[in-house]
């Protein structure tokens, strides 16, 4: 399943698609391995370019060549198991866990005479535990299987040459080379080569949501030569051969060659329709199956995401190792003493304990070979004390986590109505880590902001237009107005969540621009009308938007790759340059002539589109206007665009730069627009070059294309710049404040410019008025100077030195200011970050960053995001959450301890790669502070308790051994013991893990500082774990020694009969079961009827079990026969003893807690008390806004957030 070999660029890999089934059982994490490759542009070596290993005989699947190649059919199976291999394979998976293997070993050895128990009693709990886990696996796999069956049996029309017609068949029967017909809104059954479509020019639209999660439609186009094949008749004569690449998982490339009619045509991804995507807006297409079944790209891509393990679980492993050591230690002690005792039993011919017949010995008890006996006894000991290792721990934790996930998924408070998206936990491994986060690394766009772009301002020809006030501007104004109390108006709560900006008139999505100078056709009267016209023409042409009609409202809307682009097209439309239609080679604009006021249809031929990529940071189109002019329109990031201006194109440079600066201060996204007119000759030569580059099939094709594109995108003439506002998401500010109060550090990793980033920081209250800013950047005059020289080494050295100085300076400032309790915010830009993340400076950087409450990394690339995440995770040892919504955040999300995806507008990549998906950033607060806190607390308590109960139980066995000369005789009946973990003590602890709440959700949010219990790992510190273990040890000592002193040799009852082995066993065991169950009753904070049922039920079950088991025939019940009903139950001594021991065993915990509550209460204790005393029965649930009880809140939060 987990094919490790092809470590591609892991970002690519992470765009993993279907079947990202969460694998909870996998213990090995590939993420470390994967991260190793991060940063290297590693070649995918499974695919060798240029060598066409696959030959597809189109329309002729029975061709000898095809048959000899033996391509797999289109049958797809995503199940992990089949009926045949389920048992062995899932068993293997189960026993990959050390603990299970240990128990299996014990169960197997229990057939040998070494074993202290009967084999059946050892096997039973193991079978139950492993059986439960396997049942879970089986159910999950069954679900997958049903999906497979469904997919394999979908119907599709396949062309049958013999019958000259299309025949309906099932997906699984499609073969490589088959021509298939796919109709509107159907999924493609395999990876198809597009022959033709219902459109004349052979285009079709494809919905790739399932593949890359992008919601916009993609345009595919067939080759001209094949686009004429439109019916069965023409298909009859169709014969062609495709040579193409081997099956591989790269969704974004395809290389191949079509041999048709004696000519070769290069193929690209444009002609390939991938399985998993869907035909849209096109009546039908014909396609040839190129890859089928598991060869399809989507299946090749389906790997499991790196599996992560929570901190607590990793620590738990250590505890298990400690327990193993204790186990070995006490077995050693036991066997040494046993060896000595055994040796003494025979001295020559004299027998000491003659009743054991040491003269007639077996190897288990052989005074003559005492070391051997001791060794065998050691094995016995390993089995006997196996109760120290809780067998049901893993399975209980799994059950609990699955239910916790249900709670997260079902939380109504985390459901977003507007997008109809509830929160989703995609893995259950990390629930408890949610409660321990101390650094959040967040993307900005789409995460903190809505990612719904609104065109608000623009600067055209050096004149700034647009009068709308942005949110950031308002925030800045507010900041200036009130210098001191910044938190005045919105208390940290849920108030103000639902307020929506009131629409003034009809709101147009993506357009919030007001300027009378250019609206309503007024632009024609502006001085620079020509420039304005070119500017909006550029916006109307330079894009990849597809117009579409909304079926219900019959309104036109635009399908765009990014919301920015849609905003531009909408802006152009609103000004009077309406983009009407896109055809293969031309687009239609409806232009309003500013002189006449008439609307003119303009047909603009699109010659080339140089697409936007994150490396190029720009896109261009080359068009031929109706007048026959060759124009290149270009838009892109200012850093890229200003470099490419011609001398005379820099006319408005200074003014535009000024505007850009002010826009970025207002937190707006900038795009610079430029154009140039091409001459025919230049274009022709360039066209040849680009065709050649595009036809290339080698690995560096992309680079080549970029290089060629670069050649024409130069000498541009600046038109202006657009400014698009991305509104902050609802509740982001409150959420950030609350997270800050919980002392979670928030790092924002954004691609924005420094000014934008800082202002957004203020707007969402990441940066506060009283915070001091430490800014590290390389936009220094001397560096800029150096950059002109192009002396790479010099620049690098100077940069490193400069960054080092700035970092040191920052450290000094922090050191100086520490006395005054000041808070710092660090802002660092991408270039400096590169230096800061180098080996030499990373420690310094992290030290500095560690001292700052907020860190903003601007202009950072996806790679840097992942790198920062990794550093914070490994070097600072912090638990990190990465929050993001786009493909560029995937690496960060997978790198972090917990990846949270915002299921927003930018597609699904992040969501597919994440561990938890939420619809809005503000839900993070509930996810962490409520669910995280609870889950952490529950799991931590659960594990501690597990160790407690098993130590309490296991050690009574050891003490008993001390009284049985370490002979390996267990104190209890075998079946009592096997039931201990499974029946008598498991349900209460599971109930604890599922339901326990220290304080209600409302209080969790009211007192965010409560979260620090998790960050500081108070509930699962060694201190506490060892405390619980000690408690278990003390309980076992109290129970065992008091019991053996009470029920000694005297009469047990009035009838004079004495305590025997069985009675003592029952008495001890009852005390242990009662004590551990009462202990959990004491430690539970939240007692529902379920708790009552399981706790008292477990105890009752023990007695019922005793009676039932004791009443079975003596053949089955052996020593337990009637032991309870006849002997123990009528004995008052037995009952008094149990009561005494249970009370005594609980006394240490009770008094410890009493002292703790009085002298050093834990935060949740304080809050519990506060709300019990102050507002008894007045815990108003979750929906009541904060209001009446502000006083304690403020009192607490002051100290909490550390604000002076």
């Amino acid at each position: 399943m987990s094919d490790v070999a092809p470590f591609g660029d892991f970002v690519e890999k992470s765009r993993t698609v279907l079947g990202n089934l969460v694998d909870m059982t996998r213990d090995i994490s590939w993420s470390e391995l994967l991260t190793f490759w991060c940063g290297f542009n590693h070649q995918d070596d499974t695919f060798s370019w240029g060598s066409y290993l696959r030959v597809v005989y189109c329309n002729d699947p029975d061709n000898v060549g095809a048959v000899s190649r033996n391509y797999p059919g289109n049958y797809v199976s995503t199940t992990r198991y089949s009926l045949v291999n389920f048992i062995p394979k899932s068993l293997f998976e189960q026993f990959r866990r050390v603990a299970n293997l240990y128990f299996l070993a014990i169960a197997c050895v229990s057939y040998s005479p070494v074993a202290p128990f009967t084999p059946l009693s050892t096997f039973a709990p193991l079978v139950i535990v492993v059986g439960a886990a396997m049942t879970k696996e089986a159910l999950e796999d069954w679900r997958r299987r049903k999906q497979d069956i469904n997919a394999n049996n979908r119907k599709v029309e396949v062309y049958c040459r013999k019958d000259h017609e299309f025949q309906v068949t099932r997906w699984k029967n499609v073969r490589v080379g088959n021509v298939v017909k796919v109709c509107k809104d159907q999924y493609f059954p395999a990876d198809l080569f597009l022959l033709s479509s219902s459109y004349v020019d052979g285009i079709c639209y494809v919905d790739t949501m399932n593949l890359d999660g992008e919601t916009n439609l993609k345009l595919k186009q067939s080759l001209d030569v094949t686009s004429v094949i439109k019916d069965e008749k023409s298909l009859e004569a169709f014969d062609a051969v495709i040579n193409c690449e081997k099956p591989n998982g790269n969704l974004f490339s395809f290389a191949g060659m079509l041999k048709y009619g004696g000519r070769d045509y290069p193929l690209s991804l444009r002609q390939i329709l991938l399985r998993g995507s869907k035909l849209k807006n096109t009546d039908f297409i014909y396609g040839v199956a190129v890859f089928t079944g598991h060869d399809t790209k989507v299946m090749q891509n389906a790997t499991n995401p790196p599996s992560k393990r929570s901190k607590i679980e990793r620590k738990m492993d250590k505890i298990i190792y400690i327990l193993f050591s204790i186990l070995i230690l006490i077995s050693c002690i036991g066997s040494v003493i046993y060896g000595i005792e055994t040796r003494r039993d025979l001295d020559g011919r004299r027998m000491r304990r003659w009743y054991l017949r040491p003269d007639e010995s077996t190897s288990l008890f052989d005074p003559k070979r005492a070391p051997l006996s001791a060794f065998l006894h050691f094995l016995t000991g390993l089995m006997l004390y196996n109760y120290l290792i809780p067998i049901s721990l893993y399975v209980s934790i799994e059950i609990v986590k699955v239910l916790q996930v249900v709670f997260i998924n079902q939380d109504q408070e985390m459901y977003h109505k507007e997008t109809n998206k509830p929160s989703r936990a995609r893995t259950s491994n990390l629930n408890d880590d949610l409660g321990q986060v101390n650094t959040i690394l967040s993307d900005k766009t789409g995460t903190l902001t809505c990612n719904s772009m609104e065109f608000v301002k623009c600067s055209i020809g050096g004149v700034a237009y647009g009068q709308t006030e942005t949110e950031v501007e308002r925030a800045l104004a507010r900041r200036d107005a009130e210098s001191s109390n910044i938190d005045e108006e919105v208390p940290a709560g849920m108030a103000g969540r639902d307020m929506q900006p009131a629409p003034s008139k009809r709101r147009i999505k993506g357009f919030n621009f007001r300027d009378d100078r250019i609206m309503d056709g007024e632009w024609g009267n502006q001085e620079n009308a020509e420039v304005i016209r070119e500017f909006f023409r550029a916006l109307a042409t330079c894009h990849t938007v597809i117009p579409a009609i909304d079926r219900s409202t019959k309104e036109q809307f635009y399908e765009a790759e990014s919301p920015d682009e849609a905003a531009f097209v909408v802006a152009a439309r609103e000004i009077g340059f309406e983009f009407l239609d896109r055809k293969q080679t031309f687009i239609t604009l409806l232009e309003r002539d500013f002189r006449s006021g008439r609307h003119v249809n303009r047909k603009i031929s699109i010659l080339d589109i140089l697409e936007y990529t994150s490396t190029r940071k720009r896109m261009s189109v080359i068009v031929r206007t109706e007048e026959g002019r060759l124009m290149l329109y270009s838009k892109g990031a200012d850093s890229e665009m200003f470099k490419r201006l011609s001398e005379k194109g820099r006319r408005f440079e200074t003014e535009t730069m000024k505007d850009i600066k002010s826009y970025s201060q207002s937190g707006l996204r900038i795009m610079v627009v430029a154009y140039r007119e091409l001459n025919e000759e230049e274009y022709r030569t360039w066209k040849e070059e680009i065709e050649e580059a595009k036809a290339d099939l080698s690995a560096d094709r992309e680079e080549w294309v970029h290089a060629v594109a670069d050649k024409i995108e130069k000498e541009l003439i600046l038109l202006g710049a657009t400014a698009v506002e991305d509104k902050l998401q609802e509740g982001v500010q409150e959420c950030i404040e609350m997270l800050a109060e919980a002392q979670i550090n928030i790092w924002v990793l954004t691609g924005d410019k420094q000014e934008t980033a800082i202002n957004i920081g203020y707007a969402c209250r990441l940066l506060r008025q009283q915070m001091q800013l430490i800014i590290v950047n390389l936009d220094l005059p001397e560096i800029v100077e150096l950059e002109r020289t192009k002396d790479r080494e010099g620049i690098e050295a100077a940069s490193v030195a400069s960054v080092r100085n700035q970092l040191f300076e920052g450290m000094n400032r922090i050191a100086l200011a520490n006395k005054f309790d000041a808070q710092f915010g660090l802002i660092i830009d991408g270039k400096s970050l590169d230096c800061a993340l180098s080996k030499k400076l990373e420690d310094l950087f992290l030290n500095l960053a560690g001292g700052c409450a907020t860190v903003i990394c601007c202009r950072s690339s996806p790679k840097q995001k992942a790198l920062v995440t990794r550093l914070v995770k490994w070097k600072m040892g912090r638990t990190t959450v990465a929050v993001g919504d786009g493909a560029n955040d995937v690496s960060m999300i997978q790198e972090a301890d917990i990846g949270v995806g915002i299921s927003g507008v930018e597609g699904m990549q992040a969501v597919l790669a994440c561990d938890f998906s939420i619809a809005q950033f503000r839900f993070l607060e509930r996810l962490l502070l409520v669910h995280g806190h609870w889950c952490y607390r529950r799991i931590a308590m659960m594990i501690c308790y597990f160790f407690y109960k098993n130590i309490a139980f296991g050690f009574t066995l050891f003490w008993f051994e001390g009284y049985a000369s370490f002979s390996g005789q267990p104190a209890y009946n075998d079946w009592y013991m096997s039931c201990f973990n499974v029946f008598f003590t498991s349900l209460p602890v599971i109930a604890l893990g599922i339901f326990d709440q220290d304080v209600s959700a409302y209080l969790c949010l009211k007192y965010p500082f409560l979260y620090r219990e998790g960050v500081k790992n108070i509930l699962f510190s060694w201190h506490r774990i060892l405390g619980w273990m000690a408690n278990g040890l003390v309980s076992s000592v109290i129970i065992f020694f008091c019991m053996t002193n009470t029920m000694t040799y005297q009469a047990l009852r009035k009838n004079g009969k004495v305590t025997d082995y069985e009675v003592l066993g029952i008495a001890l065991y009852s005390s242990v079961v009662l004590a551990v169950n009462c202990q959990i009753a004491l430690s539970i904070n939240y007692f529902t009827w379920i708790h009552h049922l399981v706790i008292w039920g477990s105890i009752a079950f023990w007695y019922v079990f005793l009676m039932v088991y004791g009443s079975l025939s003596p053949t089955l019940s052996t020593t337990a026969y009637m032991a309870f009903l006849e002997t123990s139950a009528p004995s008052i001594l037995y009952w008094l003893c149990t009561v005494l021991l249970v009370a005594t065993a609980l006394l240490p915990y009770l008094s410890y807690r009493a002292f703790q509550m009085r002298f050093w209460p834990m935060p949740h204790d304080v809050i519990q008390q506060l709300h019990r005393d102050g507002a008894k029965g007045n815990d108003p649930g979750t929906n009541v806004p904060v209001g009446d009880e502000r006083t304690p809140n403020e009192k607490l939060s002051c100290g909490g957030s550390g604000t002076p």
């Binding site: 500082f1009 005594t1144 009493a1154």
Partner: protein
């Protein structure tokens, strides 16, 4: 949806809003116990109030029990015998006379026990060395698995087999008061379930103690095992190395200062492993035999709880503290980000 107009909401799938239930929203009604001072003090008080009387009662019960313990293992070996093991191993019935004085009036039933010390009836090799099927079923005489080395003798199975039966205690006691023999009833000294379900009524001893090495008592092969109560008692192994086993019952009253003569057959070898042998004559109370530990333990725990209750009361009285005072949060004292 990166379109300028959102996808049509009318055709949207049904709302994915999670259904409300108290369970999924984690709002099940619950009581939330908190360790408030009042609770703590009352809990401790309650324990002490309950425990102290029980302790007193248990102690009284234990004091009411009259118990005579006589260790005879060393006394019953002739003084000139240096090798006690050799002495005990020499064949022949070794009688020994002991006199006991009754310290207080003893009401019947008076139980006679023997007490062994340092005898590991709970040794794994020992515990396992029996065959329950054989004991129960006359047809299973040949199932001797687990009984090694006491399984066969002269190629025929031993009934009852195994080390436990083989090492059956064989000291005997007979009592007389003022030369009038005191009758010791051996009836009903074992558990009824043992007699009726674990030892067969038609299983007779067979080939028992016929080997070269004789462990302990011999059995009358004409009496079925279920009636061999000494064996039944012995076969119910003790939990700890010091144990008593019921020998019989004296059904007459013993007066204070009665002198009882015991004639005992000192046959059982505890000398090889330095085990003590004691003869115990005891009455019982509602709580069983004489053991002060339970009473003392109850009193101690009760007292401790009382002490804790008082201490907490004093603490809260002397230095009352506003409950839930946030200033007690440790990290409030040193704010900071670390």
């Amino acid at each position: 949806m990166s379109s300028t107009n959102n996808a049509p909401p009318s055709t949207a799938a049904a709302s994915k809003r999670p259904k409300y239930s108290k369970f999924t929203q984690q709002e099940l009604p619950a009581c939330k116990p908190i360790l408030t001072p009042r609770w703590v003090i009352s809990a401790f008080m309650l324990i002490s109030i309950i425990f102290v009387p029980i302790g007193v009662a248990a102690l009284f019960a234990s004091r009411d029990v009259i118990e005579i313990v006589d260790r005879y293992d060393s006394v019953c070996v002739p003084a000139n015998e240096t090798d006690k093991v050799k002495y005990i191993q020499t064949p022949g019935f070794k009688t020994c006379n002991r006199t006991l004085t009754v310290p207080k009036h003893m009401k019947p039933p008076i139980f006679v026990y023997y007490q062994l010390d340092n005898f590991y009836q709970n040794h794994r090799r020992y515990v396992k060395s029996r065959n329950d099927q054989q004991l129960r079923d006359s047809k299973e005489a040949n199932s001797v698995s687990g009984c090694k080395p006491e399984d066969y003798n002269n190629n025929s199975a031993i009934v009852p087999c195994g080390l436990i039966a083989w090492s059956l205690f064989n000291d005997t006691y007979s009592f007389s008061r003022k030369n009038v023999p005191l009758n010791v009833s051996k009836k009903d000294i074992s558990w009824k379930s043992d007699r009726e379900h674990k030892f067969g009524k038609d299983v007779y001893p067979q080939n028992f103690q016929s080997g070269s090495l004789i462990g302990g008592a011999k059995l009358d092969s004409s009496i079925p095992l279920s009636e061999q109560e000494d064996l039944v008692v012995w076969m119910r192994t003790a939990a700890l190395p010091t144990f008593r086993k019921l020998y019989g019952r004296i059904e007459v009253e013993l007066q204070e200062n009665d002198v009882i003569d015991v004639t005992l057959g000192n046959n059982y070898n505890t000398y090889s492993f330095n085990g003590k042998k004691k003869l115990v004559i005891s009455t019982t109370s509602w709580l069983g035999g004489k053991n002060d530990f339970l009473g003392i333990a109850y009193l101690t725990v009760g007292g401790l709880c009382f002490f804790l209750a008082v201490m907490f009361t004093i603490i809260y009285l002397v230095k009352p503290r506003q409950l839930g005072d946030p200033s007690y949060l440790s990290w409030n004292r040193n704010p900071g980000w670390h």
